[in-house]
Subunit: 490 residues, 2 copies
């Protein structure tokens, strides 16, 4: 027992320091004085230096060799620690440091290139990022598969082949649905108008509480891009407000509440341990997506939101609940993944997945990236890319080295589909409660079936335990087809 | 050169981590969700563990032995590092850890005891704190003087004997002045009324900017007790608002701006180095005090404040600048050090100094502390202590082990007196500018003469360099006698 206890005490300090580093990032994106940026980057660098040294400390290897787990939970802790430790020690320190430096710089280069619509200015450093991540993947890959090595950082156990097959099954049905919707005569109106910022912020807080966010262990601030940050007893979310687009504020809030409640609801026995957070990016996204889409964009919940918005802002341009529901779920051609609807969102993700696989395998050179993007975009979406900020420069991910991350968004949607199907069977009357803004039955179900387990089970295992069967795309696709057939009277 | 550079790179990371720990403390006192306290205490503990390990790392000793400084600045850096390292390595790790544990707990015990007016509940843990600090002092003291060993943590180079002599010279003149004031027929009125919180916060920000606080590298928030936090490019202050007592908000803001601008104005060449902050508690307090008192409570500045307050809140109960000035500087019997006026404040400090010397020397047992306090208070102030929260339980300091800290408050006042005398000679027209709320000439003088040097010179040396002569109590006492003679028409 001594080795296990020593290891866990060591990990506890590391987890606490990691929470501190996260909170420093939160501060930077929300309330940090502008002029503090240079010093902050040194502070973050110091935290990363300490964390990297701790995460690769050879004592971890000794403890792992000597530790005798006394329970299934302890076995799971050791599995998680071993996986992380092996991953971290496989990557040479020089390479890890170079990656940190280059990706930190690349993010700034990307932002400027996007502002200037200048792809050429971004490609040289993107080439470096791709090259370094390929080197890292080579150090990590046990079987030579570079893409899988990267994917496993975000979705343990997933493979590129499996995701290709999944996406191959999803794509034709999504394209068929999208084409039917686009051809429908019965197109919804948009919600138009000006919605004052304070009113939006107030209603966003109401929505967060409605979806079970615990503000006694969190807080809501503003940032340029909404995010959720932290684990355990201090999980903070941010939102943003655009006076002409209140859905942006409300649905990004609900989305982040999905992430945040996952972190808040993990079994407190796992607090500040390796199992004390969400198990994978895919399962994390399943929580944010089911909150945002299956509940937030449902006919039942939009009736509640319609009433709240009418009370807050007066009569809306979509003056009845059905027109409002249709406005929330309007499908239209869009260049931007993050502004996309439930039907087309996964098509955006699939395109990123196709392209990034080729970049990592070496099949596609960054010099040819823009052409590849524009060609595939027009083929997939039937619309030409008009400018780089609507095309290859729209997402920050690749600049910071996030290759293998995009598919987890769609895995999240697939998992959300499975969970929603099981939840509907378990809670037959849920829609009537949701219509009144009473979500505790459904959020409790998610808490008890998924969130409480933290990192105890693998990603697919936690979904299978919650739903009773292995995850497939079928529930998501059936849900989308049924929902939009009714919405558009197809 | 290699050893010096290695040492400084190491120190830079330590300084950056120390800034992170400080910012975590700021977060805790201002915006942290209530329910995060338990996790936060583990996060702070993890940061302290890391910092303690770095500050006692034997490599520092090796680097110090091998380093060849190439300039006076480098010599000063090494002096500072050596002093801190020797201090930290003299204290056994067990004792340091025990002190951290006990003082962390004692602060909570003190707060509860104060709330319950229950001295007996506090004394056992205070006894432990005194005992541990005595052990620590014994480990630190090279000459066997326990009190000096503790004092040197806050005011390098100061001795208890020297401070006793200083206070011995100050006390009779302060008592005589206080007694004359109390006997004057011409007592000022208090400012009375209700002053709305938002108006106070707005004016506090104006005052902060007026005194040169750089909000591009800082921010102003609320906390229970106002404080300044951080060094370099991110120095944050807090204030508090009481609707019936606007001077509390305004003068605590000006006070904290004195501390904060000192940290903001240190030469940027010292950023994230051991010399990158204020040199001692006494010199720090000289900046906060000269901002708050010699300027903030001057006849010239109170005229500016009178106009600002009248514009913000309407006609005041003290309807002309002279009555307002007298209200700001009203001297009255008070049990509470922090609410005291310029004349009596140092008498409070002297009493703490007398008592804490006896606690540390072993002459006074904590069992007899309350009686000693009450007896001396009545002798010094002519008023009986009515309850422990107005007596021995009023300050947090001793609970967290701050013995040797109190006298630095009065050293700060003494230094402020010296600086003010020199500044008046250098800037003859300063009062006319201050009357208009133009403080840049005086704050620039303090920046260039004192603040820019950070920790480069010793405490007395930086005052002597600024004023041209060694610091004495004479300027402070003459200033107080002149000011209050006129104010009370003595």
């Amino acid at each position: 027992m001594a080795a296990y206890d020593d290891l866990m005490a060591y990990q506890r300090t590391t987890e606490a320091l990691s929470q501190v580093a996260g909170r420093l990032g939160w501060d930077q994106e929300t309330i940090m004085p502008r002029g503090a940026a240079e010093q902050r980057s040194e502070e973050m660098g110091a935290m990363e230096e300490i964390l990297h040294a701790r995460r690769t400390d050879p004592r971890i290897g000794d403890w792992l060799a000597a530790a005798k787990p006394a329970s299934e939970d302890q076995k799971a802790q050791l599995r998680k620690i071993r996986r992380t430790y092996e991953r971290n020690t496989k990557v040479p320190a020089d390479l890890a440091a170079e990656l940190a430096r280059v990706t930190s710089r690349a993010q700034g280069v990307w932002a400027e290139a996007r502002g200037n619509e200048d792809v050429a200015a971004f490609l040289p450093i993107l080439g470096q990022v791709v090259d370094l991540r390929r080197q890292e993947a080579a150090a990590l890959a046990s079987d030579g598969n570079l893409y899988d090595a990267l994917l496993n950082d975000y979705e343990p156990g997933a493979t590129g082949v499996e995701i290709s097959e999944l996406f191959g099954r999803m794509r034709p049905r999504l394209v068929a649905l999208r084409d039917k919707i686009m051809g429908a005569s019965n197109q919804p109106d948009k919600l138009v108008g000006q919605f004052d910022a304070d009113g939006q912020a107030k209603l966003a807080e109401t929505l967060a509480l409605t979806f079970g966010y615990n503000t006694d262990r969190g807080r809501i601030d503003r940032s340029v891009h909404p995010f959720s940050s932290g684990s355990g007893l201090d999980v903070r979310i941010t939102t943003r407000v655009s006076e002409s687009d209140p859905f942006n504020c409300f649905y990004s809030t609900i989305h982040e509440v999905g992430h945040a409640t996952y972190e808040q609801n993990v079994d407190q026995a796992f607090l500040l341990t390796p199992l004390g957070g969400g198990v994978s990016m895919g399962v994390h996204e399943s929580q944010s997506r089911i909150y945002e889409n299956q509940f937030g964009r449902s006919e039942a919940f939009t009736q509640f939101l319609f009433e709240k918005m009418t009370a807050q802002f007066g009569t809306l341009s979509t003056p009845d609940p059905w027109a409002f529901y249709r406005a929330v779920n309007r499908v239209s051609p869009s260049h931007i993944r993050t502004e996309s609807d439930e039907v087309q969102y996964n098509l955006h993700v699939m395109m990123r997945f196709d392209i990034e696989q080729k970049l990592i395998s070496g099949q596609l050179d960054v010099a040819d990236l823009e052409e590849a993007w524009n060609t595939q975009f027009e083929a997939d979406f039937g619309v030409a890319v008009d400018k780089p900020s609507n095309g290859v420069l729209q997402d920050v991910h690749w600049s910071v080295g996030l290759f293998g991350y995009f598919p987890t968004y769609s895995l999240g949607n697939v998992y959300a589909g499975c969970l929603f199907e099981a939840l509907k069977a378990d809670i037959p009357g849920h829609e009537e409660a949701v219509r009144k803004g009473e979500l505790s039955a459904v959020t409790d179900w998610l808490r008890d079936k998924v969130q409480v387990h933290g990192g105890l089970y693998g990603p697919k295992e936690v979904i299978e335990r919650a739903t009773g069967s292995a995850p497939t795309e079928e529930p998501l696709l059936s849900y989308l087809e049924a929902k939009f057939t009714k919405l558009y009277d197809l």
